[in-house]
């Protein structure tokens, strides 16, 4: 199994570095541009979520990212040692939203936030969350099409 491990300081300015790396590595591993873009988005949302909600936008903490690739799947893991994820967010990540449709046409009622975990749920094939000691860990798996053998 091939893999790479990154660690960044908990600053939003570092998120794009990881996101761009994941996109480029995905392309290198043979994923198409759409899938690579989706993985870039999911890793970006997961790492941003860790910085904002686990570390409350406070620099000086570590967010760890692991990418592992083997036949048939690409696995991304994001872990932090911050505040544990509230149950409601875990549910959104695991089960997705009750409905994707807008509840109203009224502009003022449209939520400005809270879409990150839903996006991960929608774009990844499998998503897991667990608490390991005082660690938050999100595992995201994308199934890859197996090359056809003639």
């Amino acid at each position: 199994m091939k893999g790479v491990h990154f660690a960044i300081d908990s600053e939003l300015a570092n998120v794009s570095l990881v996101a761009v790396a994941v996109n480029r590595i995905s392309l290198h591993l043979g994923l198409d541009e759409t899938s690579a873009g989706e993985l870039e988005l999911c890793i970006s949302e997961a790492v941003t979520n860790a910085i904002r909600h686990a570390y409350h936008d406070e620099p000086g903490h570590t967010v760890e990212i692991q990418l592992a690739f083997r036949a048939g799947q690409l696995r991304l893991e994001v872990s932090d040692c911050g505040t544990l994820m509230p149950e409601e967010q875990v549910r959104r990540l695991r089960d997705g939203p009750l409905s994707l449709e807008l509840e109203s046409d009224d502009r003022s009622s449209i939520s400005e936030g809270g879409r990150g975990l839903t996006i991960i749920h929608q774009l990844m094939d499998e998503v897991f969350y667990d608490e390991v000691g005082n660690h938050n860990r999100i595992i995201m798996i994308k199934h890859l099409a197996t090359p056809q053998v003639e």
């Binding site: 998120v15 759409t34 873009g37 870039e40 970006s44 941003t48 939520s111």
Partner: protein, 136 residues
Amino acid sequence: MAHERHFDTAIRHGTLTPDRKYGGVMRFEERTVGKVFIVKVLESRIAAEGTARFKADIIEFVNQGHRTLVLDLSDVTFIDSSGLGALIASLKVLGDDGELALCGARETVSNMFKLTRMNKVFRMFNNPEEAAAALA
């Protein structure tokens, strides 16, 4: 005819002052066609690290009196949920009688709008000319 409309005003670059409070600078190119104010985002990413600045800049355009805005996203290759949030916040500042439309979204960006159903909230056009003609 709409397609003969000319962009008659000088293009201005980066007219908004960088502000340390929000971190970073978003670069824009602005032009006006009739009542339509077209803002081209000269950045490849609208992501969490820059969205506070981005939102403040768009709201500043609204506060300058622009009520019909078109954001040209043709240079943008990546937008995350924070970027969407900034656009929604800007839409709310405009209120019900203003318009914030988008144009030139690449596939990755327009996929994000479809995924979150925001394509039903923002009118999306292929290019600035089409947007200006529709909103004039």
